[in-house]
Symmetry: C3
Subunit: 168 residues, 3 copies
Amino acid sequence: MSATVRSSVSFERLVELRLAVEAFHCDYADVLDRGDIEAWPDFFTDDGVYRVIARDNAEANMPLCLMLCEGKGMLKDRAYAIAHTEMYAPRYVQHQISLTRITGVDGAQIKAEANYAVFETLIDEPTRILQVGRYRDTFRLVNDRLLLADRLCVFDTVVVPNCVVFPV
Amino acid sequence: MSATVRSSVSFERLVELRLAVEAFHCDYADVLDRGDIEAWPDFFTDDGVYRVIARDNAEANMPLCLMLCEGKGMLKDRAYAIAHTEMYAPRYVQHQISLTRITGVDGAQIKAEANYAVFETLIDEPTRILQVGRYRDTFRLVNDRLLLADRLCVFDTVVVPNCVVFPV
Amino acid sequence: MSATVRSSVSFERLVELRLAVEAFHCDYADVLDRGDIEAWPDFFTDDGVYRVIARDNAEANMPLCLMLCEGKGMLKDRAYAIAHTEMYAPRYVQHQISLTRITGVDGAQIKAEANYAVFETLIDEPTRILQVGRYRDTFRLVNDRLLLADRLCVFDTVVVPNCVVFPV
């Protein structure tokens, strides 16, 4: 957490928010790891934005994303497509998410970051690293529930192993 | 944590339990990562059950496990065999465990889940992913100490890289 | 946490320290993952020691380290060399750090351990495991801020994949 955040919010409040965001990550990863892709859009606000972008693009301020969904309509469309129309080999994904930290608090809006590693397992193949990266999140508290107003997934794994089927 | 759990247990209590379960994971992983296999059965109740099962078997409700120990006697027997009678190439294992969440509380019984990744290093080989999976645990509070009444390890890594020597 | 620690420090205090150490890990990993290597020495006390040692050496009490910096002068020298004089292929690193636990508290000095996995991505190559290991840390509270008096990184990954450019 930055010095700025530290000065305006108490350590206790930051810890409380961090624990809440970590609980969010649990729920989010669980839905994706179980393959329940159609429950995934419910983690976002109605105007929620989801982007998966290569780190070199992000650092060069280039806008091209591997995935981009603006608003719940696009999120639901994406989820429906993955569940019902896209063709891909069956696979399991598993998330490790650690190092969650709160980087900003502004009323009901919370900014946070965390490192993620997604492991992918295709039938008859060893588990491999699909992608490692960093979530740069903006959460909004809606009816006491954290929702993503913006999730930017900045990934190091510039060489995509074949394809990224599911959101990370 | 599910809506059901949320309604019956306070957020503070869930956080407290989560922190306690995370401390348990630390101790458990430390024992295995140090290779102190004969201390491993002490994490279980006398009637504790330990199973390692492939995810496709678990999801199809098929019972075949990669490892199965029912009760402390079998756990100790397994640990003794690994420490003293089995032959295998020397290796290090290391655990990453994240995304711990409490999924149920019923008196002294606590249900929890977490994602694990186990990395294995053989002499003169690069570190590889041995197994990624999910702990589905039932803990029991015995004399203020958490013990495993049931640990089900559901793994994604269906193709076992040669063999799984140690419990995960 | 060991039984000794438990008896002398309250569970609440241990949790508080663990959350603080976890926050430290976040800041530390963020600096390295962003490649801001010259900010890295600021995580140490003036007499801080940093060592990266293979697990077989550590367990045999052999002193040879892959990296060794004694005092802030050497830490800064190392950081400067990496930033300005060494030649290496561009790369991203990413940390996963989990299973943090407090192993000792003695006034302003805190001993802690955690498992780390560092993933490395070279341009045009898939992400690979650079190193998995365990931090064995001694922190000192200086002006309410945790600083490393000693970080020993004991790594399992005895076969170094080409080279380890950055500290872990």
